[in-house]
Symmetry: C2
Amino acid sequence: MKNSLKISLVFSLFFSTALVSFSQDHPCLMLTPNSVENIRAQLGQAPLFGLELAETIKEVDVEIEEGIFVPVPKDMAGGYTHERHKKNFFILQKAGNLFQITGDEKYAVYIRDMLLEYAELFPTLGLHPTNSSYATGKIFWQCLNDANWLVYVSQAYDCIYDWLEPEQVQHLDKTLFRPLADFLSVENPQFFNRIHNHSTWANAAVGMIGLVMDDKELVKRALYGLENDGISEEETDNDGGYIKVAGVRKAGFLAQLDYSFSPDGYFTEGPYYLRYAMLPFLWFGKSLANNRPDIAIFNYRDGILLKAVDALLNQTDAQGQFFPINDAQKGMSWLSREVVAGVDIAYFHGGRDPMLLSIAKKQNRVLLDETGFAVARAVEKGLAVPYQQNPVSYVDGADGRKGGVGILRTRTEDGELCAVFKYSAHGMGHGHFDKLSYSLYDELGEIIQDYGAARWVNIDQKGGGRYLPENNTFAKQTIAHNTVAVNEISHYDGDVKKGEAHYPVPYFFNADNDGIQIGSAKDFDAYEGVELHRTLILMKADDFQQPILIDVFKINSEKENQYDLPIWFQGHLLQTNFKYNTALNSLSPLGTAHGYQHMWKEATGSTEDKNAKITWFNRGRFCSLTSAVSNKDELIFVRSGANDPEFNLRHDPAFVIRRKGEKNTIFISIVEPHGEYNPVEEIPHSPFSSIESVEVIHDDSEYTVFHFEKTDGMKWEVALSNINADKDANHKLEINSEKYEWQGPFYIFKK
Amino acid sequence: MKNSLKISLVFSLFFSTALVSFSQDHPCLMLTPNSVENIRAQLGQAPLFGLELAETIKEVDVEIEEGIFVPVPKDMAGGYTHERHKKNFFILQKAGNLFQITGDEKYAVYIRDMLLEYAELFPTLGLHPTNSSYATGKIFWQCLNDANWLVYVSQAYDCIYDWLEPEQVQHLDKTLFRPLADFLSVENPQFFNRIHNHSTWANAAVGMIGLVMDDKELVKRALYGLENDGISEEETDNDGGYIKVAGVRKAGFLAQLDYSFSPDGYFTEGPYYLRYAMLPFLWFGKSLANNRPDIAIFNYRDGILLKAVDALLNQTDAQGQFFPINDAQKGMSWLSREVVAGVDIAYFHGGRDPMLLSIAKKQNRVLLDETGFAVARAVEKGLAVPYQQNPVSYVDGADGRKGGVGILRTRTEDGELCAVFKYSAHGMGHGHFDKLSYSLYDELGEIIQDYGAARWVNIDQKGGGRYLPENNTFAKQTIAHNTVAVNEISHYDGDVKKGEAHYPVPYFFNADNDGIQIGSAKDFDAYEGVELHRTLILMKADDFQQPILIDVFKINSEKENQYDLPIWFQGHLLQTNFKYNTALNSLSPLGTAHGYQHMWKEATGSTEDKNAKITWFNRGRFCSLTSAVSNKDELIFVRSGANDPEFNLRHDPAFVIRRKGEKNTIFISIVEPHGEYNPVEEIPHSPFSSIESVEVIHDDSEYTVFHFEKTDGMKWEVALSNINADKDANHKLEINSEKYEWQGPFYIFKK
């Protein structure tokens, strides 16, 4: 604040007519007296901003009309008191912006009156009566929601701070805001002092109200954390995540920036939570940019905040829906309010990337501040350029050495194929036990799905909107994902602590050639004595109607094991090339634990042919999977939904290839989207797979060679170097007197 | 033809400059020399027509480029020879239009060359090798497809008839067309002489080629059928439908018009087949209008053809998808090519209804003839008016006395609620055993679904694209629908012949008041000694967020029975107000026959409360059902998919209220769509039901009275007269010393 005041004074020397408005200290968070002036002056030139303003006025005016409700806290998420307090903080923040931009005092009056009611209520509150969180809140059932409240409400308070009587300010500071800030920090160190999205909210809440109140102690606490928190390394939160990250002794907002993201902006919990976590990062970041230019927050750690926004936007399907990596409710997308903030702030404080404007147009919303205004102005000027997601490999871990996520993605004339390959670290309490799993998308959505979380966020009827028991017992388990489960046990035995201690190793990644994109990673720790090595190849060639995905899953073990490779195909099974026996009159689960207890075993088969093929149909498209198998492999169809006493799970199908009694083995499969059909035309186009066969030619610790052939006789050979990923290394191999020579970790050759 | 020639000559006296083109006899079916002249002259003024023309040229030119393929018939639907011959007839018909409109001879050459190949092939053909139809074809596996071929190809032939050398015409007539026409008629009377959509295609095919060839015998055969067909009354087709309709001795196209539709245009098989059947009706109708004005075909039977188009368009959900009454593949809609013809011909030959133009705009396609041209011109002039489906009750049966279908439908500011109440006749071979069933839609689609057919039309992998075994064993059965099944047996014991012999009785229908729409019907024959009486009330009131559906299902029987009322709710079960036990580790079917063998029994419960309530979620909406039950009722959750060896069925949920050991009984339920939720906002709006209770106050053979109450205390009472539907009748009733007096079959009163 001191800094912004100084700048104001410098300006006022030159523009003395503006002296009156510049003499204010507030607002200082999202808005400044100066930015408010600018917005007011050019309001007519930014229709998208005008639209947002008009809609916000409409929304807030209805609330003002209805009156102020500050009920005594009682309910869980979804219940009345929860939803009411949540609505209050959303409306208060908006009312603050409206007061600044329109100058209409009724908004200030509304904020003041509601804050005074909160100041009445707050001192009377003990812990929330639900008392079921590792950090129970006061206004809400958990401190996290109290911190949300404060992040929003500090903005409202900021907007009316200079308008209030000094004694009102003093009263609110003393009775409501400072006690709440202390409650969220010193009184709940296990909540405040983590490296976790919960703590980011806490840090931002405490820091933002500190800036408004010019309370340097709070700002310091927010930036650098509590010095002595006394938290044990064994303490966990409600999701089973550990409070402390081994080896990390720092806390506070800057430590969040240091440890929450990988160097390229990947967030270990995945994009669903990155989206949620971004808002306090961006808002407190923006507040610091206004008040503490000494920190140069948007340049901090090589511009990590802006990199994180980039990474967030890129981890989306063609509709802008986030890949449901780890715990994630499907359907969340870049249309969310948090990403509106991300796009606007990244546009303004980043390089004014015109691709961001096309997302802003889809959002059709902007922040009511200078960043949103800049976006709206640029959209009006026609500067928007279509946003394109790119193939990329992200590293995970603050040091960038804890695995990663590889996105293979290729566009065609009218579509795309995108494989999301997960070899990241565990993802803390929200992590799933799915090392080396993948999911597959076309431009319409999922082809091979990741289940996401077993949760209906905020829907009271489903466990109060919280994670459901089946999230732990099914959605997090290995078999619920498209990766190998050994001996019907989940990776790391389903133990978060073990999961957090290890991470896969990226082997190589190459998306330089749009026609052949390839990612490869290994895991040595998910099972003791078992090495997993998966390579995914996205191939686009004129010989195929659409791009295909080649999946090579190699396993080394000194002991015999059972290997299950599930493929959670999305859609209705049309056909197989093998016989199977369907459970006609009785269904039982596939197993008893590690998620197996939640899958009905619908059919089993086997084949004397060397390839198992299934074809399914979804959303007007066909897709086939062709996999090299032996006649001893069990080919199993399952469906989720067993042992689900309250109908919490979706009933989705999967195909499981089960191989028993092998030590080293390899699964090679080709996923091939093809053709289309719609019920209006009723004419199937290319309903059949064009893959004739996949054949393993050679497989040892050093090299894997396989062929695949199309029904029209075209044939490809693929060779992989399994222990040397050097792109300049030369490889030679002779198999059945045929010679293979190549450079680098792989080659693909059309014969 | 003689007539059109006469008219041409009259015209030519006045417009002698046009003499050359008017001296032609052909084309005479969809196009005439005159209409071609008009189209050519105004081509620039009808962009939609120009678009269609351009796309057709593109499509046909690709085919001409690829060459002519007339393979020896071999495959079922979905296989190569089937799909190739099908493509041929579509392309030939288009090429004919292009030759006429563009004058480019390459189209004529293409048609001629392909027809000559067919003339080579045809005489060599015996019956199609599949030999699995009640009327096996030659080019295709069934005569039906051969008739499709001829309906399309006769148009192509018509367009080049005058361009061909006379000896080519003679050759084609003698070697291909007349033999095919005979094959489809005199050689297959069981196919040609039915009252059935198959025969309509046959009649149209024979009639249209007869008009082209000026073969009066064929035209007569088409119009009036074969005189002596020698078909037994016991003969059935592949779908189990009877060839002969009891009492009907007439056949041919005019008999189809007499017997296929009810007086208001309802088609007993349902809209999916009406759509399919309409094309030959419309095309042969249009051809007759051009050639046989003496018949005045569009005025025939009070304009039955145009009424049928009206009825077809009105039996759609908000997306224009046909209600899947009886056998129907879901997703078929007014965008289909048959409805393009329906809309264009109805617009041109009907009253130029501007609402039809808005559908034409959605179709974005028109026929390449004068009707399509007129539509495109009118669209260009901006004459389109939004199409609105209306509530209506259709009668079924040629005499209008065989039951019917009632559509209750009310619109709100941003949506609608629509109940489709089925009390129609059986629907021949495609009929389902679902007397008094209903399905429910909002503006987004199904809320309570009709399963539709178990079939993947033309998808070879699923039974060659034909009806699957589960269509008979599940989709047609009573329990697969939203109506009562008694003693686990389907209506009419699942016997088509019994089903065809009876039909429900409409009791009353009133949609005059948009806020209270009500339909009521009875059935006396589905079960011996059991009377079923259902009344559906669609109610829109300011007291409810959205319209609700009240369902009153009354049953009289002198014997004790088990009554099952299934509700096939679409979506994910969120909550119930009663306890249930879920089958956790083992699933078994609900029963052994009549469709019960295909439903897994997932959970059963009961309640001491007098109401059972379930809430489900789908497509961002909540919906609740509240039903008056006793503590003896079993409350069962099932899911389709049991005994399904090849994964032919969808796995959809249903809620079944089971009442045992009662004679007379009544089920009263309220279906209440409410609220919304989307995964981007994550804020549930109105996720809870507002219905507190439903209570039966009185129920005997004469009267039914019940109350229902909202959670806010508002209360309604409803009274129904069960045996007197006279709208002027006065009713008096005293229950618990409370007096009820009203006029007409029902009253609804807010207390």
